[in-house]
Amino acid sequence: MISLINKKYTISTDLQKYIYETYFNQVFKIALSITQDISLSEEICQETFITCFQKYYQLKDPLKMGPWLSTITLNIARSMLKKKSKIIPMALEEIAEKNNVEYNTPESIYQTYELQEELLYVVGKLSIELQEVVILKYYHDLEITEIAEMIGVPDGTVKSRLFRARKKLKEIIDKSETLLSLKLREG
């Protein structure tokens, strides 16, 4: 199996190692942020690097390796989630538990973690197209034109998706705020 995969790769072993060592954490963390499932994240990570090594020649600018890998990661995550019919994301308590965040922490720490977990929760609720632009915009700090070039759509489409993403985020934030308040009150 391994030898068959190796024959398909278009880049040298040294470059494979370099890319893997440099971007493994990024790819895995993005996959985990979206799925909140470690075993599924491993599969996504594996498929992402295989795709990367096979289609490396399609990358126009090597400096954009990070964003390119994120795009691949999100696409693979989407197809895997569809295939496995995973329901994501999990409840906020489970997310916090998976990330070693305790609800009984001091108030300030709790609020910081809660805020970030809630953000991941709402980003995970977005469609893959919107997740894509959100990650490229806010995680990789790319400009509109760079995102457009990266995902192969016009600038206007990126702006439109970002607008929809913000709107959706605000809606989900409002709902999750309500849900969270209810849960905390019940607890």
Partner: protein, 252 residues
């Protein structure tokens, strides 16, 4: 927050996401073994190969040690020989890699205290074509044999050394007869040592001076004495009497 109270427009949402999304993703915990496991699945041979190499090397080293150990028990001689060879190899390897000594020889004669100077080239030995040429190079007048056993003739004449010690060697055609005369300057002393178990050493009078006659196990006889700053030696497969006769018949 919480968020819905504070976030009212796109800029606020931008700032909120900008501030927190990166931190939230980076805070995700990656399981320790995931990286190696995925690397192996993908087929990047990195740590895996190193692990295999280390395991194989360890196994080979263990096998070699076991063989040496068993050899030492079963056949002490062979075991000892193998062990000595192994340790010699290791020693050589370590010497060559750890110390890495390099020696530089210089022909600069002004450096007198340099212990690393190369050994001097023996330019002083000259085989003289004629006895007269050899005599001219000596600071003393050499004796020449007045009597020789029958059939023995002079073959070579060598002059060795200069300044402090000069030596003339007369080599003859038969009986490996060799007569040497060495002129010594002041403050030079010479000694001769032989294995007493294989050698018979006797004192004898030569030309009115006490000398030493040495009989080697292989029947070679050597006669040595010193006279007026010259050290004489006659040796050959002759009897002691013949050697003494040659010595007593030396003449200018």
């Amino acid at each position: 927050m919480r968020m819905n109270k504070d976030i009212r427009n796109d800029i606020e949402i931008d700032n909120f996401i900008q501030d927190n999304l990166k931190v939230a993703i980076n805070n995700q915990r990656v399981p320790d073994e995931a990286k190696d496991r995925i690397m192996q699945e993908i087929g990047i041979e990195c740590k895996t190969i190193r692990h295999v190499f280390v395991k194989r090397f360890t196994a080979c080293a263990a096998a070699a040690l076991l063989i040496f150990f068993l050899a030492s028990i079963l056949s002490p001689n062979i075991g000892a020989a193998l062990n000595i060879r192994l340790f010699t190899r290791v020693e050589t390897f370590l010497e060559n890699t750890i110390f890495n000594i390099s020696e530089v020889y210089r022909q600069d004669t002004t450096i007198t205290n340099n212990k690393m100077n190369p050994p001097p080239i023996n330019k002083e030995t000259e085989i003289q074509k004629t006895l007269e040429d050899a005599k001219r190079k000596l600071p003393f007048k050499p004796f020449m044999p007045g009597w020789l056993p029958e059939g023995v003739t002079l073959k070579d004449v060598e002059v060795i050394g200069e300044e402090d010690i000069v030596k003339i060697i007369l080599k003859y055609s038969d009986k490996q007869l060799m007569i040497s005369e060495m002129g010594l300057c002041d403050n030079v002393s010479l000694g001769v040592s032989f294995d007493i178990e294989d050698t018979v050493v006797e004192n004898t009078m030569v030309r009115g001076i006490e000398g030493t006659i040495i009989k080697l196990k292989n029947d070679m006889v050597i006669l040595k004495w010193a006279d007026q700053g010259v050290f004489y030696s006659i040796e050959g497969y002759l009897t002691p009497d013949e050697i003494k006769k040659i010595a007593n018949n030396l003449q200018n």
